[in-house]
């Protein structure tokens, strides 16, 4: 399976994603320059983390108008799998691939730490390798991760099983929802209505090896292998 990793000016998780796919997953990956209009026959598109265009105006607001984004949107509309991680999630929201928006963390501080997540939906092409109710340890690293949408939209996301990851625990590691960044209902990751676009603030590509502190992120990439077919 071929993963196309879009490189925007300011992307910084593109290499991590490449490492996850090629070295840990053993699949093929190519970098896709944001000014091109060529997805190079990729089976999956990844919008990686980073600070595209310096987060100017709003995180993701300018990257969404990069030339390649029209091809990514067309790919997604045809059902192609797209993963937006961190800044990629922000770009996917700005591009209208996912509902809602990601605002400045409630604490107004940049947060860089491991968080525990609850996998709240294992019925997606991105999460079918997790066991129902599983928890996953992954790092977050963002200043603008507060997921916000109108309550009607959030109700719909929950009702349709489209909230895939929720933040869990907290300082005392209580086994309950907890938003490190003020996200509505502790939402960490969601899928679109068709289930082929995943957006999440935590970094699964930085949790693919016990050496990194966790390999719980690998299951997202493995899930794609079993559903999309190589």
């Amino acid at each position: 399976m071929k993963f196309g990793i879009v490189v925007f000016p300011g992307s910084n998780s593109d290499y991590d994603t490449y490492h996850a796919v090629v070295d840990q997953l053993g699949e093929e990956a190519v970098y896709l320059w944001h000014k091109d209009h060529d997805l190079q026959n990729s089976d999956v598109i990844v919008l990686p983390g980073g600070f595209s265009y310096g987060d100017y105006l709003r995180a993701g607001a300018i990257a969404r108008f990069s030339p390649i984004m029209s091809d990514v949107v067309a790919f997604a509309k045809k059902g192609g799998p797209v993963i937006g991680i961190c800044n990629g999630f922000q770009i996917a929201c700005e591009a209208g691939l996912l509902p809602g928006a990601l605002l400045r963390n409630e604490s107004l501080k940049y947060i860089c730490e491991f968080v525990r997540l609850r996998v709240t939906s294992t019925d997606t092409i991105f999460s079918n390798r997790y066991e129902a109710g599983a928890t996953a340890l992954m790092p977050i690293s963002h200043g603008d991760g507060r997921y916000t949408a109108d309550s009607e939209t959030v109700d719909r996301l929950e009702g349709e099983g489209r909230v895939v990851f929720r933040y869990l625990g907290g300082p005392a590691d209580a086994d309950e929802w907890w938003s490190p960044n003020g996200s509505m209902r502790a939402i960490a990751g969601i899928v679109n209505e068709q289930g082929n676009v995943l957006g999440m603030m935590p970094h699964p590509e930085r949790a693919v090896d016990p050496l990194l502190g966790s390999d719980d992120g690998l299951a997202i990439f493995e899930s794609l292998l079993s559903r999309v077919g190589v």
Partner: protein, 100 residues
């Protein structure tokens, strides 16, 4: 074609948590400004452009706001037109609220 300077005010929509605004309001209370009931912190953008007339300049700016400058999910915008020399348009701020 004339040259126009258009100011755009972008603010968090009402009902959206604005931690920056809350923090500023708290600081104002600490300073003794007990009368302050709410503060929201937004963005002020000045666009200089060429247009046939003021309404054309405002129309173009509104389109810019809808496409890029503001995110309608979380922000409201307000357009204030200025004369080419930088003064506000006659008759006070020509506010074209983008609120819904």
């Amino acid at each position: 074609m004339s040259h126009f300077r258009i100011a755009v005010h972008i603010t968090p929509r009402r009902g959206i948590l604005d931690p920056q605004g809350k923090t500023v309001a708290g600081a104002l209370h600490t300073l003794g400004f007990a009368s302050v009931t709410d503060v929201r912190v937004g963005r002020y953008i000045i666009v200089e452009l060429d247009a046939t007339d003021q309404s054309d300049a405002e129309r173009q700016t509104r389109e810019m706001c809808e496409k890029l400058l503001a995110n309608p999910v979380i922000e409201d915008f307000e357009i204030v037109a200025h004369h080419p020399d930088g003064r506000e348009a006659a008759g006070g701020p020509a506010s074209l609220a983008g609120r819904r």
